[in-house]
Symmetry: C2
DNA sequence: CTGAAAGCGCTTACAG
DNA sequence: CTGAAAGCGCTTACAG
């Protein structure tokens, strides 16, 4: 900037004013612009915000479990869309579900002066974020709620999604419905299982522990659990798979037992080729773009001065029928009721 | 920092030294740390690098076509892994293949002082980046090479991947092979088509224009093109789909014509449920983590002082046989040769 | 409208 | 080992 000022024959104040668009004599403006162009001048954003009154860095920090997880990368895109419309850029990083990593990333982002933090929480104690918030950083949680901290959050309607899926199975005549669940310490997994139980209760069906397998942490384990569950003495006529990897394991098990056209299946979360497998996979789909957009909007509401109580927003899910969820129970089972 | 110094009863110089780990008397160090802890002090990273000798901001800017594209989100993760091991954070943004957006993002990142830029190029003229590079920013291109700028790049071996896939089809006895290609102005699409022609030439097969459909920009268009191509008077016995969306269109067309078990199919790029569709989808898979890691390594090589000529690295692809690519031509066709 | 000066939060020679 | 002082690139009252 000094160089630009020298070349244009004006003071650095004037250059600063031109760069910031405050009124400056047209001739001077031209001289400054020419000089800047010639020297390839680019304002130092950090120095600028250091001195500025509002102290906004124009950046947000996103902490996901994994930036390459298809769900979170789409959330990221949702955030980006609303942030970019305000000239705000996004940092993104992966915690790999490690609470220490989450903290370190939050700290690293804070040191870099992000205006807001959007977090898919890994930790179980977010009180450490109080200080960042007092320092003016807007904090919003996505996909899972914060613990030990009152803060804005945007969640998918996990319980309701499962409830709707299972209700559909019940409508189609199923009463013995198997459930394949993820680790119950994970918020979304616990919520989904809760939805399952609610749906059974609403239909007046008693839960059969034999038909429920929880804490399935990858497709292999889910595959084994599904095989077991499908071969109990009084097997289910329908299955609910509560998550992507579990769904893959379940489909493998159904194939192996040649049951894919006889056993109804509904899965939580959509998948790329879901309409190309046989039968088409009926899913309860989340809306990750909406999760991201809304989270960003809550961040900017705070930055724009909203100081009300923490808001918890819930984004609805959608049931997408593709065939597997519409299979009726076999005739024998129908009569048996 | 001033406040910490006051509370600890030392000068700001001493606080700075403690924060930066230069040797300070143990007792003073303790007093400073306690004061910092008490005040919730967090160093201002921007102010720090502003004054520092090396001027490194500890951040990288990534410009993808779309952060939510599964390929790029995995590249992102690869970059993140090597960057994080050096304490470097990553900005990421989507250009949506718009050259202007690419430029604006590059500029926004530069203003924020990123140490390096990793770009999936949208534009056709990257000379505008000369200035950033002169300013010390390391620049590496991923997935597609730069234009009008000598710069490091990391590409997948597109041509070779297709060549290998088509060679496999030829080995299995196919001589009439259909090709479904994306818009030829896209570098990767052109490369893949080049690989297709090379494979045919190597096998002494003359290219039949009737069996080649290019510039397919979405699954609908690909679906239509595949249907057409499969119903010409002398139809192919095998198909090569050059990209994800095209593959989806091709599989739909094969299903529609009930040809999925009679027509061989190999696709470029792996997909989540590829082993669960019938028959399993044989693919030429890229290694996006490696693309990202290598790109980050090239960035850090430059930042570490490497000043040699631009390097073009190529990451090999892998053929994953799952059934669809291993279907032989029908007996009649085999005799016909 | 323009310029000289102070200062954002920090680091780093320079003395001591 | 420690402190006073200068200065990184910028913005912004304050005079003129």
């Amino acid at each position: 900037m000094k160089d630009v000022a020298a070349l244009a024959g004006v003071s650095v104040s004037t250059v600063s004013r031109v760069v910031n668009g405050t009124d400056v004599d047209a001739a001077l403006t031209r001289r400054v612009r020419d000089a800047a162009q010639l020297l390839g001048y680019r304002r130092d954003h950090a120095a600028s915000t250091l001195r500025r009154a509002d102290r906004q860095s124009g950046s947000l920090g996103l902490i996901f479990e994994d930036v390459s997880n298809p769900l979170f990368s789409v959330v990221h895109r949702g955030v980006e869309d609303v942030a970019r419309s305000r000239g705000v850029l996004t940092f993104a990083a992966s915690s790999d579900d490690d609470p220490d990593a989450e903290r370190q990333l939050a700290q690293a982002f804070s040191e870099r002066g992000v205006d807001g933090l959007i977090i898919v929480p890994a930790g179980h104690d977010h009180s450490y974020l109080m200080r960042e918030r007092e320092a003016g950083t807007a904090i919003v949680f996505v996909d899972r709620p914060p613990r030990l901290l009152e803060a804005d959050s945007v969640l998918a309607d996990n319980a309701d999604g499962v409830r709707g899926g299972v209700a559909r199975l019940v409508e189609n005549g199923h009463r013995r419905i198997g459930y394949l669940g993820d680790r119950q310490r994970i918020f979304t997994a616990a919520e989904r299982y809760r939805g399952f139980r609610q749906a059974l209760a609403a239909a007046g069906i008693e839960e059969d522990p034999e038909l429920v397998r929880l804490d399935l942490y990858d497709s292999e384990v889910a595959h084994d659990a599904a095989r077991e569950l499908l071969t109990v003495s009084d097997p289910p006529t329908a299955l609910f798979a509560s998550q992507n990897l579990i769904t893959i394991g379940a489909v493998h098990a159904l194939r192996e037992l040649a049951l894919e056209h006889r056993m109804a299946l509904i899965a939580f979360d959509d998948l790329t080729l879901a309409d190309l497998i046989e039968p088409g996979l009926t899913v309860v789909a989340q809306d990750p773009v909406a999760l991201g957009r809304r989270a960003a909007e809550l961040v900017f509401d705070r930055l724009d001065g909203y100081e009300g109580p923490a808001r918890s927003e819930v984004i609805p899910t959608t049931l997408i029928p593709r065939g597997s969820g519409e299979l009726p129970p076999p005739a024998g089972n129908r009569r048996a009721q």
